[in-house]
């Protein structure tokens, strides 16, 4: 098992005919993911071809879902149209919508999140690398790669990784893989202030997944999402957890107005988040090079086997 997606997951690519969407749809097909449909309004009836794959393109997500039985979509459409694309995925009744697009206006995401509240569709992202559930083939192929992450750095196994940052996710996954420790699923939740799925949401799923034996939580400055996840872990999670917070040296106030610090409270600096992690029993990686080793230490302390 894994969380969110499996090698059987049927995937729609919204924006499959754009450069960005096309490039990563091909990489997902190479990885063995079930890319069953593309959506580009106005190009319904055409096909997206790659090697022996011939993926039908539809005008709408609803058409694509009805024809293929897909349950998940990934969005590569440009920022001005991305909010609309997300809502279209939700309206079609998909289980999961993953928005890769970077640069969506915050106001659009405020409205999208409100519109999706209470609905059945989960949103991951935006501005995220996506999800990988590794497979058993060479370079972890045969799994489900949704988004822009390099598939080959993964290895099938039992560690869950959740992060806001793409490259830090790759860093953590790669560190695990070179130590022959595989991953159940790695999830990039995105770097935007308004996103669909939080650290806590993903941690809860990893905790409930019997196939996930340990968790790496990667966060950064701003907001309090990592703190919420840490407090929940302390109260509810028996699995070994390692954490890393980026931005200890980031200059204050460069990304947020100073009134932001008030609403965020005193818990949104790297130092404050690291302190909460430690207090909640999370093994903190001193540097980004130490993420996998930190989890190994945490697992050893709890007598848990990761591989």
């Amino acid at each position: 098992m894994a969380i969110l997606v499996t090698p059987q997951t049927k995937l729609i690519v919204q924006g499959i005919t754009g450069d960005f969407g096309a490039r990563h749809a091909k990489l997902s097909l190479d990885y063995g993911s079930q890319v069953v449909a593309g959506v580009t309004p106005g190009k319904g009836g055409q096909f997206f071809e790659h090697g022996s794959a011939r993926v039908p393109i539809y005008n709408s997500v609803a058409d694509a879902k009805a024809a293929t039985g897909a349950t998940v979509s990934v969005i590569f459409v440009p920022p001005p149209f991305a909010a609309d694309a997300i809502l279209e995925g939700a309206d079609a009744g998909l289980e999961l919508v993953i928005a890769i697009t970077e640069g969506i206006p915050i106001k659009d995401m405020i409205r999208v999140k409100r519109a999706m509240a209470g609905g059945a569709t989960r949103l991951i992202g935006p501005n995220c690398p996506g999800i990988v559930t590794p497979g058993t083939g060479p370079g972890s192929t045969g799994g489900c790669r949704i988004g822009i992450a390099p598939g080959y750095i993964h290895r099938k196994g039992h560690v869950g990784v959740v992060s806001r940052s793409g490259t830090l996710t790759y860093e953590a996954v790669y560190q695990l893989t070179v130590r022959k420790i595989g991953q159940s699923t790695s999830v990039g939740i995105g770097g935007d202030p308004v996103n669909g799925t939080s650290h806590l949401d993903v941690v809860k799923m990893f905790n409930a997944d019997p196939d996930t034996h340990g968790i790496i939580v990667i966060g950064e400055i701003g907001g309090t999402a990592e703190v919420e996840a840490a407090r929940w872990i302390k109260a509810n999670c028996q699995k070994p957890v390692a954490g890393f917070i980026a931005g200890a040296t980031a200059p204050a106030g460069r990304r947020m107005g100073h009134a932001g610090a008030i609403v965020g409270g005193a818990e949104d600096t790297a130092a404050a988040k690291i302190a909460v992690f430690k207090e909640c029993g999370i093994e903190v990686a001193a540097t980004p090079s130490d993420m996998a080793d930190a989890l190994v230490r945490a697992a050893k302390a709890k007598g848990v086997t990761l591989s």
Binding site: L27, P79, P80, I104, P105, I106, K107, D108, M109, I110, R111, K113, R114, A115, I148, A149, P150, Y152, I153, S163, R164, S165, G166, T167, L168, T169, Y170, E171, Y174, G191, P193, V194, I218, E220, I221, G222, G223, T224, F244, A246, G247, A248, T249, A250, P251, R254, G257, H258, A259, G260, A261, I262, V263, G264, A270, A286, T287, P288, S289, D290
Partner: protein
């Protein structure tokens, strides 16, 4: 994106947020025409720079105060002469300060009481939040810390917008009654409309004041906008003042590079924002100090790498360079080739440590090794960081 106080107040007026009458000048000749638009009497002279703390700031020519109260217009004209064209250093500008290129004159209002009002994003709820306080004209961080009971917050449901009962609640918490209550309610509604309609990231009025005649005015105005929404706000983009931005950051943005100057000695060139931030952290962890944040994005083309090197080397404090690339999809050899060509083109004299990892990394490392250049290779982030820290020490 940030704008000046006078630009923010022009937007306030457009949306119906009352402000004291004012006029701007960019030359001594314009002092006269600007002041002619204001009534005789007490006048404020306000240096227009983006940084806060102007009132307590000091000019590099020794003149104290970037915001001054003057009893007459004649005095205002003289005071403005001390400010215009000079460099103002405040707690927020850093030691280099900012050159004052615009003076804003306003009528000095009679103040009965000062309040605080701001609207921004509440990340926890993903909704706009209105923050108000009976303690205005002081640092709001201090109010939040010392007297949090005097800070009031209202979350706005984006599906409905700001509701009247919420405005009444805020006004009542601020203990305003009669004409003051009515005028404050009007101001709050107008400010929310402006926040929502202009894709603002934050609007802040500190202080908002009441006057002896029952008026409610925005005495100061600080507004920033969501960069992601600028594509649909040409009227906001037109307010951008490049004089207020670091020239190196402007140059970087032309090449799709995200660059922020810091005050250390080790320059960083990294792909990905999270990795770039943690590269700074790891330099610090091993006893060095980062000279910048630089994210080349997912690609890192040869042109980008060359541009990045030129920008980095424009900082005289830089004593060494740390390139940290995780080439996930990108071919590491393409990146390595870019680095070698960039180093040859800019004629690098400083120590350079490169940590390459990912796709086709062996070929990339071979390219660096065979280049004939003194490029130090790091095996992991930690190894590379320790090497560059040692080289600049």
């Amino acid at each position: 994106m940030n704008i000046h106080e006078y630009q923010a107040k022009a937007l306030f007026e457009k949306f119906g947020v009352p402000v004291p009458k004012g006029a701007t000048a960019t030359s001594p000749e314009e002092f006269i025409t600007a002041l002619a638009q204001l009534p005789e009497g007490p006048t404020m002279v306000k240096s227009q720079i983006h940084a806060g703390g102007r009132g307590k700031g000091v000019f590099t020519n020794g003149y104290k105060g970037g915001v001054k109260f003057c009893k007459t217009k004649a005095e205002a004209r003289e005071v403005a002469g001390h400010m215009l064209g000079n460099v103002l250093v405040t707690a927020q500008t850093g030691p280099a300060g900012r050159k004052v290129q615009t003076i804003y004159f306003t009528v000095a209002s009679d103040i009965k009481k000062e309040y605080y009002l701001a609207i921004l994003l509440d990340r926890a709820s993903s909704r706009p939040v209105i923050v108000a306080s009976t303690e205005g004209g002081v640092e709001i961080e201090k109010v939040a810390h010392d007297t949090p009971e005097r800070l009031f917050k209202v979350l706005v449901d984006p599906a409905y917008g700001l509701a009247d009962f919420q405005v009444r609640e805020l006004v009542s918490k601020l203990a305003l009654t009669g004409a003051e209550a009515k005028n404050a309610a009007k101001l709050i509604r107008a400010l929310y409309t402006m926040f929502w309609e202009t894709d603002a990231a934050m609007v802040e009025i500190n202080p908002m004041i009441t006057t002896p005649t029952g008026e409610v005015l925005a005495l100061d105005a600080k507004v920033s906008f969501d960069d992601n929404a600028l594509f649909r706000r040409p009227e906001i983009v037109a307010l951008r003042d490049l004089n207020e931005e670091d020239p190196k950051e402007i140059e970087a943005s032309k090449y799709g590079l995200s660059y922020i100057a810091l005050d250390g000695s080790i320059a960083c060139l990294v792909n990905g924002a999270g990795l770039a931030m943690s590269t700074m952290d790891i330099i610090k962890h091993f006893g060095g100090s980062p000279a910048n944040f630089l994210d080349v994005g997912g690609g890192a083309s040869k042109e980008q790498v060359i541009a990045a090197f030129k920008i980095i080397l424009g900082d005289p404090a830089v004593k060494g360079i740390f390139v940290n690339i995780f080439g996930g999809i990108m071919d590491c050899n393409v990146i390595a080739t870019g680095i070698v060509e960039a180093v040859k083109e800019v004629g690098l004299k400083l120590p350079l440590v490169v940590r390459l990892e990912g796709n086709n990394v062996a070929a990339g490392k071979a390219t660096l090794a065979q280049s004939g250049l003194t490029i130090v290779s790091g095996d992991s982030m930690a190894d590379a960081a320790q090497k560059i820290v040692k080289l600049v020490a």
